[in-house]
């Protein structure tokens, strides 16, 4: 991993989301599913964001503006700088025979990079509204479903599933395919194992998602919230 300050090239609208385009500098994009800690201007803590795509000379991050950190990132001006640490964590295994990408909502974020690395395999993406579904433009060959239809209803048999999305969607994918690879999320203060803030229950014990994930095999039991104290 590497700590750098990267210039903001642009922030673009993609449906309700924002696409933060940074100049890549010397930073390696890493494996799809890995993430970076981005430092929002004026905030104390960085925010974990999976890499969306790495076009020549750039790093793209897809943001859902849900709080002060993502808002500060989304309001970055071109020419400004963002502190970036990464790539971090464990990404997707790419040695799959018949990949199918599965995404839900902002969980589409890491799939463009993954799609490119896997040679643009088929994808199924689910969204709350048609407006959210505009983000599907980032993923080639994607089949789109919009609620009340759920992605799990559109997944064909016999595929190696690589999924990122809300937890109910990941649980539904797990139920369909115990060999799936699932990308989870948790609040993180550091992203490199220092703060122990991103603990989730993995295989019955509390573990740091930044060290042991964020991509975890569906064969591994994982619970990220609502744990008994």
């Amino acid at each position: 991993m590497r700590s750098e300050r990267l210039s903001v090239r642009a922030v673009e609208r993609v449906g309700p989301y924002r696409l933060l385009r940074l100049e890549r500098g010397p930073v390696e994009p890493g494996i799809p599913g890995q993430f970076f800690m981005l430092r929002p201007p004026g905030r104390l803590l960085p925010r974990p964001m999976s890499l969306c795509l790495a076009p020549p000379g750039e790093l793209w991050f897809l943001l859902d503006v849900i709080g002060p950190g993502t808002r500060a990132l989304a309001e970055s001006e071109p020419g400004g700088e963002i502190g970036v640490l990464g790539p971090l964590g464990n990404g997707f295994r790419l040695d799959v025979a018949r990949p199918l990408l599965v995404g839900g909502g902002i969980g589409v974020a890491p799939l463009p990079h993954l799609s490119e690395q896997l040679g643009r395999p088929p994808a199924v993406l689910g969204f709350r509204t048609d407006f959210h579904a505009e983000a599907a433009v980032l993923v080639p060959s994607a089949e789109i479903v919009v609620e009340p239809t759920l992605v799990a209803e559109a997944i064909p048999d016999g595929r190696d599933l690589l999924a990122c999305g809300p937890e109910p969607m990941l649980e539904a994918v797990r139920a369909l395919a115990p060999t799936a690879q699932l990308a989870w999320e948790a609040p993180m203060a550091c992203g490199y194992g220092a703060c122990h803030g991103c603990a989730v229950e993995i295989g019955g014990r509390l573990a740091r998602l930044c060290v042991e994930g964020p991509v975890v095999s569906a064969a591994t039991e994982i619970t990220t919230r609502n744990l008994a104290a």
Binding site: R2, P187, Y192
Partner: protein, 305 residues
């Protein structure tokens, strides 16, 4: 001179960060393994962050197996220990006394996220003192009504130094639901909001004890570190800043030396406790008071970790 605050760095996961420290302080070790508190464990607040990790650690037995790897860092290893009674601390110190690689033991008697030990700080220090000859630093809470009085009691019980300060208990609510953000409701407040609190505790405890002090609480720049040294700290601990900036140790070291020189001191340590002197030391250069943007001041951080 520059350490990490306990629980703010895992040297086994990020040894390159730890090697930039003068000593590495472990996450607090308890007699038995602890999974820690349920998530959500962290939240950003205005001017700080809350954590409620709950002393997650593998327990002393498994921890001792990691000591050879920590020794490979090539810097002194401080082990932070925590328990729920004085006997716990005595037992932990007895075990660590046998480990040559352990340089110093920090007694965490002030975690805001677990039940407080039954005994007062001086009883814990006494029990630990009887169990080891290694240097003992007592880590105190800034929430004590009279932190200096507790520091004096710890000194009389045999503490060799003080670590000041631990976090302050705080609460953050979800702005949408008005429910606590953390699963345990409250957590320990760290970061910039803690800075003047730490400064006051270091100032008072230096005056009361003259013991070596690791000052910590919201330090983000060398300038801020110099103020803790001026108040009486002999070392500086970095905590929350490490989460956002793993390159902070080297940057703050260089900034601290420069800030000391700006005030006419040959070294940072030479500035120790100057806040207590009658002589006024005016900076040779205008002091940058907007010291909250470390990268802009120090240039690019470029640390491979």
């Amino acid at each position: 001179m520059i350490l990490n605050a306990s629980g703010c760095l895992d040297a086994l996961v990020a040894p390159e960060v730890a090697r930039h420290l003068d000593s590495f302080v472990t996450k607090t070790v308890t007699p038995l393994p602890r999974g820690g508190n349920a998530p959500v464990r962290i939240a950003e607040t205005d001017g700080g962050m809350l954590n409620s990790i709950g002393l997650a650690n593998p327990g002393i037995s498994q921890f001792r197996e990691t000591l050879p790897r920590l020794a490979e860092l090539g810097i002194p290893i401080w082990v932070s220990v925590g328990g729920f009674c004085a006997d716990d601390y005595a037992d932990l110190c007895t075990q660590l006394d046998a480990e040559a690689v352990v340089d110093t033991i920090e007694l965490n008697v002030s975690c805001p996220n677990v039940a407080a030990p039954d005994e007062a700080a001086h009883e814990i220090v006494s029990a630990a003192r009887a169990a080891t000859e290694k240097p003992l630093f007592a880590k105190l809470s800034p929430a004590l009504p009279d932190v200096a009085a507790v520091a004096v009691a710890a000194a009389q019980a045999g503490a060799d130094g003080l670590s000041l300060v631990n976090t302050l208990r705080g609460l953050a609510l979800d702005p949408r639901t008005l429910r606590p953000l953390l699963a345990t409701a409250t957590g320990g407040l760290s970061g910039p909001a803690l800075r003047p609190v730490a400064l006051a505790a270091v100032h008072a405890c230096y005056r009361a004890t003259r013991l070596p002090i690791v000052g910590m609480g919201g330090i983000e720049t060398g300038r801020q570190a110099l103020e803790l040294v001026a108040a009486g700290a002999s070392s500086v601990g970095l905590g929350t800043v490490l989460f956002a900036d793993p390159a902070a140790p080297a940057r703050i070291r260089s900034e601290l030396l420069q800030a000391a020189r700006d005030h006419g001191f040959p070294s940072a340590f030479a500035a120790r406790a100057c806040a207590h002197e009658d002589v006024c030391r005016v900076a040779a250069h205008p002091v940058a008071l907007s010291a909250n943007k470390p990268e802009e001041e120090a240039g690019l951080s470029n640390l491979k970790v």
